[in-house]
């Protein structure tokens, strides 16, 4: 039971010792950085190694001009940290920033400019972009305003779910895009609160982990381009351009205009946890919104440019991120900044894990050289607060460093497996000679992760970046004209196939094949070893009209259209049953790579490969058919999945089953709904025990069990 509010603790440091600019102050505590409410006032602490002086600038909330400017007395400086407690502030109604004075000498890396008011890198709330899409007043001198907030959310009994990595089914989505479409029917479309109303949908789908595209404060209006077809303003919709790393995006909160985005986001997380769903954040530490020397000065650039950014010997910005600057991640101070930030999200927001955008950059030294033992990656792997969080790397960067399979993992890091995506896509479209690599990928990529286990591989076919699943089977080429870059943006290597017509068509055969191909993709994804990741909307055939780079499209190209839940209920049902099937069969989620060793209980190996003939897989250059049988430890069941990307049907000879077991049909993507898939546990025993005809471009999944066994 809490101490009653009346029993206040009296503290000596609740009294001022100095007066600065008409305000009563005292020396603050250097740690923690940021603005923290303390008895009687607010303690401000900021680091700058090269600043000669530092001034705290305070505004009444929303006012263009400051109400106070308080220079830190020299005696309030500890090392390179400026810390001061200011008494009598109404923390809810102020905004604050800093002026840092020091050398302006870009060649040596310093860009101090005391005319600029800088945002606090540790600000836990940011004002200035409170409501999504509202045109900002750019004449205001200080755009992204740091705010003070209490970290006193009542979590109740919320604790980390601790779902084992191998059991995860990840659902990648965009906070705004998930409910912004009018058809979502939520109270506050496009917000954390809106997403919270859709938790029942997620639960019914069966996913147990949601991965959110960036939620740290960014400026959606920092895209200067317009859509050449409509003239409409384009956005920075995805948000891979962080303005402030500790602050949740106000524009994603229905209560952002009241400054309550922190509580709204936490409430969403708390309710997701209550529904058995973990939350992973997509985080961007490789670059910031400050760009290169042409970009704006928001925070780091003016506080300590040479510390925070990788600079060339001439003082220009290295650009391994493709966006203008590169965060100097392995500098000791910046390492701690990243660590503090992640700890904040884990401790104060109960986040379960992180996916690191262009994570290969996190392994580069200050001069850009890839490090053999990057201290930042090691630090994050062993940190006590982050110890049980999921760490997922996008193991490449825009500077050409590609580390899929070689990312310095320290036994902790998983990776987005780009090779899985490319291989399965290639197989699906019918490329020949892929069966060998397909086998490797669906077995958890032992060639890449032999020492790390299958859960080091996050398997995905589609993600926010690239085609949606429906577009993967509807377009041969990207159609990005709406992005205003002459269709030159976005990847060209999509391994997609349109099934016979480019884009929407009335041809029923093409549409039927597309639906089947989507089911094939999902069937392979959810029967592969590794962590499956589903792109939001793929379960209902969400289309981006062939645009494979919708980073700037805040419209129906990006939004989840909830009318498709009914319209594409067949695909949705298929997805739900596939996820349920995966949950039911442990052998699909085994953490160790299969070895082919016999399972004592059934006399079958943990994995076996088959073709048209049982035990005779066809690895030849022309092969487009592969079947795999997995046998679980102690599960006493066998799962057989045959994948045929050939345009012809094939007679399959099924491997014999021991001990009175027989093959039961779970899914056949070549069959008409509702016979395309069944409820796990209610599979239909095959009449012709030893054989099955697999149709053209189809996937068949069977379960080997005793006829009456409810597994």
């Amino acid at each position: 039971m809490s101490e009653p509010a009346s029993e206040q603790v009296l503290r000596v440091d609740a009294y001022p010792t100095h007066e600065v600019g008409g305000y009563r102050v005292r020396a603050g505590k250097p740690f923690p950085f940021g603005a923290n409410v303390v008895p009687g006032g607010v303690s401000f602490s900021v680091f700058s190694d090269q600043a000669t002086s530092m001034t705290l600038v305070i505004y009444q909330r929303g006012e263009p001009e400051p109400m106070a400017e308080l220079e830190f007395p020299q005696e309030f400086r500890t090392g390179s940290v400026f810390a001061m407690t200011v008494f009598g502030l109404d923390h809810e109604n102020i905004e604050y920033g800093y002026r840092a004075d020091g050398p302006y000498d870009p060649v040596t890396g310093h860009r101090f400019d005391a005319r600029q008011v800088l945002s606090d890198p540790y600000a836990r709330l940011i004002a200035g972009r409170d409501v999504w899409g509202v045109e900002p007043d750019r004449s205001r001198g200080y755009q992204y305003r740091s705010r003070v907030c209490l970290q006193d959310f009542d979590w109740g009994d919320d604790t980390p779910l601790g779902i084992p990595a191998e059991d995860l089914v990840v659902y990648e989505t965009h906070v705004r895009g998930f409910t912004r479409h009018p058809s979502s029917q939520v109270t506050a479309p496009g917000t954390f609160a809106g997403l919270r109303e859709k938790i029942p949908y997620l639960k019914e789908l069966g996913i147990n982990c949601i991965e959110l595209l960036p939620v740290f404060e960014f400026d959606e209006s920092d895209n200067p381009r317009t859509n050449p077809e409509t003239g409409e303003q384009l956005f920075d919709y995805w948000g891979y351009n962080t303005v402030s790393f500790f602050a949740p995006k106000a524009g994603y909160a229905a209560t952002g205009r009241y400054g309550m985005q922190g509580d709204e986001f936490r409430t969403l997380i708390k309710d997701l946890h209550a529904a058995g769903i973990e939350v992973i954040l997509d985080v961007v530490f490789n670059h910031t919104a400050e760009g290169n020397e042409q970009g704006p000065t928001i925070s780091f650039k003016g506080l300590d440019n040479a510390t925070y950014y990788m600079l060339t010997p001439e003082g220009y910005y290295f650009n391994f991120s493709g966006t203008g600057n590169t965060v100097n991640c392995n500098h000791p101070v910046v390492r701690n900044f990243v660590l503090d930030c992640l700890r904040h999200w884990v401790a104060d927001y109960h986040i379960d894990g992180f996916r690191f955008d262009l994570a290969a950059i996190l392994g580069r030294s200050p001069d850009g050289t890839p490090l053999p033992n990057p201290p930042l990656l090691e630090l994050l792997a062993y940190d006590p607060v982050l110890r049980h969080t999921k760490l997922i790397a996008e193991a490449w960067d825009a500077g050409g460093l590609y580390e899929v399979g070689n990312f310095p993992a320290y036994g902790r890091w998983a990776e987005w497996n780009g090779k899985y995506r490319d291989t399965v896509r290639s197989f699906l479209k019918g490329d020949p000679g892929i069966t060998g690599e397909l086998a490797t990928r669906i077995a958890g990529s032992p060639d890449l992760y032999s020492s790390r286990g299958t859960s080091a591989s996050v398997n995905f076919l589609t993600a926010h970046d690239g085609f949606s699943l429906a577009d993967l089977v509807s377009y041969n080429d990207k159609h990005n004209e709406a992005n205003g870059e002459g269709n030159n943006d976005g990847g060209n290597d999509n391994a997609s196939w349109n099934c016979g017509a480019e884009g929407p068509t009335d041809d029923p055969e093409v549409n039927a094949l597309r639906l089947r191909q989507m089911k094939n993709a999902l069937a392979i994804l959810f029967t592969s070893q590794g962590i499956p990741m589903l792109l939001s909307g793929d379960e209902v055939a969400r289309t981006q009209q062939g645009n494979n780079n919708t980073y700037c499209q805040d419209n129906e190209l990006s939004w989840f259209d909830w009318t498709q839940v009914d319209e594409n209920s067949e695909l949705l049902r298929f997805t739900r049953e596939m996820i349920a099937f995966r949950k039911r069969h442990r052998e699909l989620r085994s953490t160790s790579h299969p070895t082919g060793q016999l399972r004592d209980t059934l006399g079958l190996p943990d994995i076996s490969w088959h073709g048209e003939r049982a035990w005779q897989p066809d690895w030849s250059a022309e092969s487009r058919l592969l079947a795999v049988a997995r046998c679980g430890t102690g599960d006493d069941d066998v799962v057989y999945a045959a994948m045929n990307s050939h345009w012809e049907a094939h007679d399959l000879e099924l491997p014999a089953l021991p001990g009175g077991r027989s093959w039961h049909l779970f899914a056949d993507t070549g069959a008409e709904a509702p016979y395309d898939i069944r409820t796990p546990g209610a599979e239909l025993e095959l009449e012709n025990a030893g054989k099955y005809l697999i149709g053209p471009r189809s996937v068949v999944i069977l379960v080997g069990r005793t006829p009456d066994a409810e597994l």
């Binding site: 109604n93 209560t255 400054g259 309550m260």
Partner: protein, 120 residues
């Protein structure tokens, strides 16, 4: 924007009627008014019908009152929460902690209807 509070006592407990905004400027005095009432141990109803806005600090104040009431074993009910305030409280999770007297209000409405019918 100020906040006015009026206290009413009846057999069932104490009713505190608030008018205005509950924010960082007004929540301190509201807390000082509410805490002694909680400690009296009588059921407390906070009538927010005339409250137009509750800020983050205001919501935290109400939650502190709720925690104190829990501590003292006293029932606290919020009453007359406007749609906007209710939405903000719901989105930020604060609503989960409170009884908001809706059931009470519905019962009272039903009773009034019954009484009106009987009077006809």
């Amino acid at each position: 924007m100020t906040l006015n509070v009026k206290e009413r006592r009846n057999k069932a407990g104490t009713v505190l009627v608030a008018t205005g905004e509950i924010n960082s400027e007004t929540s301190g005095s509201l807390l000082q008014t509410l805490l002694p009432l909680v400690r009296e141990g009588r059921p407390l109803r906070i009538d927010l019908t005339a409250v137009t806005y509750v800020s983050s600090a205001g919501l935290r104040t109400l939650l502190v009152v709720y925690r104190e009431a829990q501590h003292a074993g006293v029932a606290v009910t919020l009453y007359g929460v406007s749609e906007e305030v209710r939405f903000v409280m719901s989105a930020t999770g604060f609503l989960d902690f409170f009884s908001t007297g809706e059931a009470e209000a519905a019962a009272a409405k039903a009773a009034a209807k019954t009484a009106a019918k009987a009077a006809r």
